[in-house]
Symmetry: C2
């Protein structure tokens, strides 16, 4: 399951938002800190809804947070 073709800027965006913690982001999004951690580290593909909610917290379009890099 690892090695997703999707990267993200969650860590960077958390830093830009007052050093927001994974726990705080999880609280705002409605998931646990472990889930935030796993998504941030690219351990699996989140649901589209969770992805949208994360982007929403940072007031960014989804594609400014998650990038799709399809393999060859």
């Amino acid at each position: 399951m690892p090695n997703l073709p999707i990267s993200n800027r969650i860590r960077e965006l958390r830093a830009q938002h007052g050093e927001m913690t994974q726990q705080e982001l999880g609280r705002l999004v409605g998931v646990t800190r472990q889930t935030v951690n796993a998504i941030e580290l690219g351990k699996y593909s989140p649901s589209l809804e969770v992805a949208f909610r994360i982007a929403c917290v940072f007031k960014q379009p989804l594609e400014a947070v998650f990038h799709y890099e399809p393999g060859p």
Copy 2:
């Protein structure tokens, strides 16, 4: 699970792409036609990766295919 805050334009985009069938879209995306049908009808939130692959088939940004409409 139903009643997602996410809508999509898959049916419209299939029509614009030579009346592409759900089965053909599923084949191009790598999921079954039942999965395409369920996503198209908004029965559940697909994985972010499947959402990206669908947008990719239509050569559209993800947010041109799926729209997030958060509740109040």
